[in-house]
């Protein structure tokens, strides 16, 4: 237990080091753009596919449940709120940790194992500024965008099942949604995805940077990235949800 707390403290300390280097890292904008591509664009396929299927399931389950109360028209509301407030940010974060997070951790771990980071220090280049910060920023920028895409495609999926297949009235689907979903719900979702972005990116670069310089070390780092990210995301999810209530 105390080990975990110590690690948590280390991770937060690492965040401090990264933040100090962010201003200078921003000067090399191309590096950040490359990392947004690695973290975001390359995750698009899995995020969009998952969003579609999650939305479709939401449409099915939501319809079945609401039908018991005779409130199928509320399907739009249910799907939109479920996705925007919870499923979008959380599922995207978990997918991100699995795809982009592990890639980041493995890449940094390998750079550590092949002395590339030491070489950089030797060449008087701060690896945090040159390598870690751009990857961190890439993840932070990509996450909210991925979550928004997930939610959008999810709503489309719910609409596909609800309106096209289950014959819920399209007008009610959208108008009830518009009436009941407030900007604050969207804000809650955006805040969540931003916070999750920071958390997942931070954990991934931390584990990779501090990996033991062996094959097992890199493997362990990627595993820890996914596990730690998942736990932290779900915990933060509760905190933020409670905060907004």
């Amino acid at each position: 237990m105390s080990d975990s707390l110590v690690r948590l403290g280390d991770i937060v300390g690492f965040l401090g080091r990264i933040m100090l280097q962010v201003p200078r890292a921003l000067l090399r904008f191309q590096l950040i753009v490359d990392q947004v591509y690695n973290a975001g664009a390359l995750s698009l396929v899995i995020v969009m596919l998952s969003g579609l299927f999650v939305g479709m399931v939401l449409g099915l389950q939501g319809f079945e449940l609401l039908q018991r109360f005779g409130s199928e028209q509320a399907l739009g509301t249910a799907a939109a709120i479920g996705l925007v407030k919870e499923l979008g940010p959380v599922v995207t974060a978990l997918l991100f940790a699995g795809r982009a997070g592990t890639a980041l951790a493995a890449e940094l771990g390998l750079m550590r194992a092949t002395d590339q980071l030491s070489a950089m220090e030797m060449m008087a280049v701060d690896p945090i500024r040159r390598v870690v910060a751009p990857r961190f920023l890439g993840g932070v920028i990509a996450m909210p965008l991925l979550a928004a895409i997930f939610s959008m495609i999810g709503i489309y999926g719910a609409q596909l099942v609800g309106v096209q297949i289950m014959k819920v009235d399209a007008g009610s689907f959208w108008s009830q949604m518009r009436a009941s979903v407030h900007l604050i719900d969207l804000n809650e979702g955006i805040v969540k995805s931003c916070v999750f972005g920071v958390a997942c990116s931070l954990i991934a670069v931390y584990e990779g940077y501090h990996a033991a310089p062996t094959a097992e070390g890199v493997g362990a780092a990627t595993t820890r990235t996914v596990v730690t990210s998942a736990v932290i995301v779900l915990f933060l999810d509760y905190l933020i949800t409670a905060f907004f209530l």
Partner: protein
């Protein structure tokens, strides 16, 4: 470098898609997209005996058309009434001062909202006015209590109450 152009293109498309999704979510899923509070509005209050579960952000309608939002809910400890503050869209500035405000329910699973029925006065509500005539929220427990009190036998009549409630949509 060779890879850069394709990567930048991919990143640009991704970011564009992301912002398009955000735009979609903001405009297509929430009410009116643009935050209501950015349009000019004026503020009125109303006191109720019971607001039920009326929430801040609930709509204020007249003749079924949304004309404003609930922005604050307070409690007056002198006359033990709930004070509801509402922002009304400045476009609708011809609401008679003797109109009444009631709390309705949107649907079986829907939330409460404030409905305003026009009165006949020739003066209109202005900023910081109070609506004098109000009708409290419909509270399901009270209705069931009434049924139980009037009809005596519990099981048949909670079933009929539920049946009546279920058909109301």
């Amino acid at each position: 470098m060779r890879k850069s152009r394709a990567m930048n293109l991919g990143t640009g498309l991704f970011v564009l898609l992301g912002f398009a999704a955000l735009f979609f979510l903001t405009t297509q899923t929430t009410n009116r997209g643009v935050s209501f509070h950015s349009e000019p509005h004026y503020r009125v209050t109303a006191k109720f005996d019971n607001i039920g579960d009326l929430k801040v952000g609930a709509p204020v309608s007249m003749a079924g058309v949304e004309i404003g939002r609930v922005v604050g809910i307070g409690f007056d400890s002198r006359d033990y009434k709930a004070v509801v503050a509402m922002n009304l869209n400045a476009k609708y500035n011809q609401i008679p001062t003797d109109s009444d405000a009631s709390i309705y329910t949107q649907s079986l699973l829907g939330g409460k909202f404030v409905g305003i029925s026009p009165g006949g006065a020739e003066t209109y509500l202005k900023n910081n006015d109070q609506i004098a005539f109000t009708q409290s929220a419909f509270v399901l427990e009270n209705l069931i209590g009434q049924f139980l009190a009037n009809f005596g036998k519990s099981s048949d009549h909670s079933k009929s109450a539920a049946g009546a409630g279920g058909q109301v949509k």
